[in-house]
């Protein structure tokens, strides 16, 4: 099936990602050519250290590409002003939030910064968006809590609420289910899936929960040592791409149930 290119929202051209040291450049992945379309629920899968976070940080302008380029629509990402970008793309990172006395409400309200005036005064529309974001993420009851009082699962939902309040078409999340138990992990996946389905958001996330990710996402970016490919579950399966994700002696991809299973002795 030929892919429809008309609604591509993020694309990369021969992208090389990694870190620029003082003397040498550490390239983690090269020649990444992928397309992400409007309304995609895209999950990035790969082993530890394969470059998932680096990839997400590069397509969100948190760090620059080392080679090639990232495009947002037709425009090169590096050329887009941060203020304009902030109305198109919001992020949920794994960065630790410094200790402060911000309440959950204040934290979510910070997501309105691209729209507020010079002192950050909230208009009734801002309040509306904040309330909506907190309702969607089921964090209303936490409104007056300080964020350091929250559990990992609650904090993750609050951070997603902040990204939602930012009212952007694209939301990029780096391992939003890290540190979460299975119940809370599924809750996050269901929330994100609903945002894609009902709000027509484009969501890109990385996750180590491969089996859940395969089930919920409609498109997958697979990062392995040799290549970075993307496609639907079916097309990747056809390509036998899942077999390269992990060394096969421990984990295997079971085609019939479309899940990874532990290799029996």
């Amino acid at each position: 099936m030929e892919k429809d290119h008309s609604n591509v929202i993020i694309s990369t051209k021969d992208l090389g990602i990694g870190y620029q040291g003082k003397k040498k450049m550490t390239l983690i992945q090269r020649k990444i050519n992928i397309e992400i379309c409007q309304g995609d629920f895209m999950v990035v899968l790969g082993r530890n250290g394969i470059g998932k976070s680096t990839f997400l940080r590069t397509i969100t302008k948190v760090q620059p590409p080392l080679e090639g380029a990232v495009f947002l629509g037709q425009k090169e990402l590096q050329a887009i002003d941060d203020r304009i970008l902030s109305k198109k793309m919001s992020i949920v990172l794994t960065d630790r939030i410094p200790d402060s006395q911000l309440t959950v409400f204040e934290l979510v309200a910070l997501g309105r910064q691209p729209y507020t005036n010079w002192v950050g005064k909230l208009t009734s529309e801002d309040y509306q968006k904040i309330t909506w974001a907190m309702k969607e993420t089921d964090t209303q009851a936490l409104s007056n809590c300080h964020f350091y009082e929250l559990s990992d699962g609650q904090l993750q939902r609050v951070l997603i609420a902040r990204a939602l309040a930012q009212d952007t078409e694209i939301i990029v999340l780096d391992e939003p289910t890290a540190h979460l138990d299975l119940h809370h992990t599924i809750k996050i996946f269901q929330l994100l899936e609903r945002l894609v389905r009902e709000m027509k958001k484009t969501i890109i996330l990385s996750s180590h929960q491969v089996n859940l990710a395969i089930r919920y996402a409609n498109n997958i970016i697979l990062m392995t040592n040799n290549r970075v490919i993307s496609g639907s579950r079916a097309s990747l399966q056809e390509d036998q791409a899942f077999d390269d994700l992990f060394p096969s002696e421990i984990l295997n991809f079971d085609r019939t149930i479309e899940q990874f299973v532990v290799q029996k002795k």
Binding site: I84, L85, R96, S100, Q101, F105, E106, L110, W118, G120
Partner: protein, 343 residues
């Protein structure tokens, strides 16, 4: 935000406290003047003794104004540094900015006896001290900024700041070693810190530069709040990180520089007042914090000044010693009780 009303009440309360303390501080001293007379004189009326007029207009009012400006300025600088470096230990002193100011003044005053010539005539001028101090503060700040650019780890930046402080102290020791007793004494007195001795001309200049520095704050309320989530989030919310950081650092060096120049180094206020304010106001929103920290800074320095004057006596203690002696135990007590500090 939603609790705006509560905060504005607290702020008004604090403003009243500043006014009251100002009046009390003007009335106290080696000659005690009744508060009612103080109010009369300040409102332009005549008091029962003309010597009181003179004391208030030429000594105590300038001193109170200096205390308010210096206290609020240093406290706000501390708040800005703590938010920028996302580290509760940051402050004008810890980052070596005050040391830089001291170094500038030391080079000027102590250098006079070593290098002679132009230095000798300059060292006697208060304005030269002001310029030297601001320049020293700016230089250290730029050095910190450069390292901050190369090193992302904020903890390292703080340690580097401490090292700058140590190096400046060492340089000052060397300069002292080669200086005349007279110059050493002049520098020593400056380093004790003093809120008095400012003429109205100097107060005017102080206020203008202070106002200039403070006005930089108008551009950074939003960035300061966004920075509470770290630089990456702030950037993703449309904040221009480099520009905001430069405004914060410039504001800090200007304020620290001018305050240190006119009053000498004053420890503790910059580091501790933001923490005390956050414990009282329980918020991290800078729209509330900046004015609150400023007001509390004034309160603290006015109180320290009253203690330094040793009411009813002829002696005045060095203000720098009083702030530390009074402040350090307060902060330790607060933290032991609270067990956690916040940005």
């Amino acid at each position: 935000m939603i609790l705006q009303k509560k905060y504005s009440q607290q702020l008004i309360g604090m403003l009243l406290l500043v006014v009251i303390l100002t009046l009390v501080s003007i009335s106290l001293g080696s000659v005690s003047i009744p508060i009612s007379e103080v109010i009369d004189i300040l409102l332009g009326g005549q008091s029962s003794k003309s010597s009181w007029d003179f004391i208030i207009i030429h000594f105590r009012l300038p001193k109170a104004i200096t205390a308010m400006l210096a206290g609020s300025g240093l406290a706000i600088c501390g708040l800005l540094m703590q938010t920028l470096f996302r580290n509760p230990l940051a402050g004008p002193f810890v980052l070596g900015i005050s040391s830089g100011a001291s170094l500038g003044v030391a080079l000027l005053i102590l250098g006079a006896s070593i290098f002679g010539g132009v230095f000798t005539s300059l060292a006697l001028s208060k304005w030269a001290v002001v310029v030297a101090s601001s320049f020293g503060a700016l230089l250290v700040l730029l050095a910190v900024l450069l390292t901050a650019h190369k090193i992302r780890n904020t903890m390292s930046i703080l340690i580097i700041g401490l090292m700058f402080g140590t190096v400046t102290a060492a340089i000052i020791s060397v300069l002292t070693f080669f200086s005349d007793a007279q110059q050493i004494q002049q520098y020593l007195f400056w380093s004790f810190g003093s809120l008095g001795n400012l003429s109205w001309n100097e107060i005017g200049a102080f206020t203008i530069i202070y106002g200039f520095g403070i006005s930089g704050l108008l551009f950074i309320f939003k960035p300061l709040n966004a920075l509470l989530l770290g630089e990456n989030y702030a950037k993703s919310m449309g904040i221009h990180i480099v520009r905001s950081r430069n405004i914060i650092l410039l504001t800090t060096s200007l304020l620290t520089g001018v305050i240190t120049a006119f009053t000498g180094p004053i420890a503790f206020v910059g580091l501790a007042v933001p923490h005390i304010t956050k414990l009282i106001f329980k918020t991290s929103n800078h729209i509330v914090l900046v004015p609150a920290v400023g007001l509390l800074g004034s309160v603290v320095l006015l109180i320290c000044d009253m203690i330094a004057q040793l009411p009813m006596s002829e002696f005045t203690l060095p203000i720098n010693a009083v702030t530390s002696l009074l402040g350090a135990p307060v902060v330790i007590w607060l933290l032991v009780r609270k067990k956690k500090v916040y940005l």
